[in-house]
Symmetry: C2
Subunit: 183 residues, 2 copies
Amino acid sequence: MNYYEKTIKSERLYEGAIFDMEKLTVELPNGKIAYRDVIRNPGASVIVPLTDDGYVIMVKQFRKPIEAVSLEVPAGKMDPGEDPLQCAQRELKEETGYTAEKFKKILTLHPAPAFADEALHVFVAKGLSKGEASPDEDEFIHAFKYKLDDVIQLIQDGVIRDSKTIASILFTARLLETGGLDF
Amino acid sequence: MNYYEKTIKSERLYEGAIFDMEKLTVELPNGKIAYRDVIRNPGASVIVPLTDDGYVIMVKQFRKPIEAVSLEVPAGKMDPGEDPLQCAQRELKEETGYTAEKFKKILTLHPAPAFADEALHVFVAKGLSKGEASPDEDEFIHAFKYKLDDVIQLIQDGVIRDSKTIASILFTARLLETGGLDF
């Protein structure tokens, strides 16, 4: 079965601070022409900061698109020239103040593959030491410590709705249960 | 702590087939002005179709933004006037051919709360009967049956990268293990 959509034309419609937008003209497998609006951004790193005694460092911030304060694992987009691990180290420090001795990549996630090219690189961070957070000047974000089991309960209760957080936390819990996080 | 960003102005920059885009002018908690580019769409329903003998019905389709064939749980966006359950029933039938006797909502997900208002309504579907799929004319999508354990292995192997699929499958597995899916 051929699923491939060949790009015939690509038009940049918008360039923004967080993402750009392109309209692609594609040829479908049946030869017909169709259009795809695509959001492009540089990707981001996501960190699940795990303490030795079973806590996770989470962050709270206002998410304008959903008009809500959202409880999430720390994350942030890659700076130019940065690799995913460097981004994870920097964002963990900036958003929570914590540094970590060890990082292990556990997942790559596409949050919205129907309309965005974004890839999220998910790391578990261990060997945590607390320091001072240093968010961007106009970034209102604060770190809180939760027991992993309580984070899972907040998912079950519908309080945590951020998809990357749910995928990352549940996968981390599964790895812990199966001994897959001994690093 | 006040996190709220008040909307000062909202400007529609783009209207597309899949999403619209707005530029919002907001007032930050410190009184400063900032801008937020926001993708708006009507939301979608996601279905985890579970057979009595531990299989999940999955779909394969090409996702142009990531230039890859993606293995995902069935999902599709809400038609005007449709509620999430109606959308789940319709999309399950269209994409896989299956109908289900029972649907249970298990999660609401925000796939990209940093830049999109999209909400995904995730249902587990049980009591499945197989019929004919009826995708849209230019939609190239096919259904495949996988053991739930094999889907989890494909997540672990990095083959499945769609965030809604990973969140939905891992949460379903957890509910099954804790008896939370007896409906």
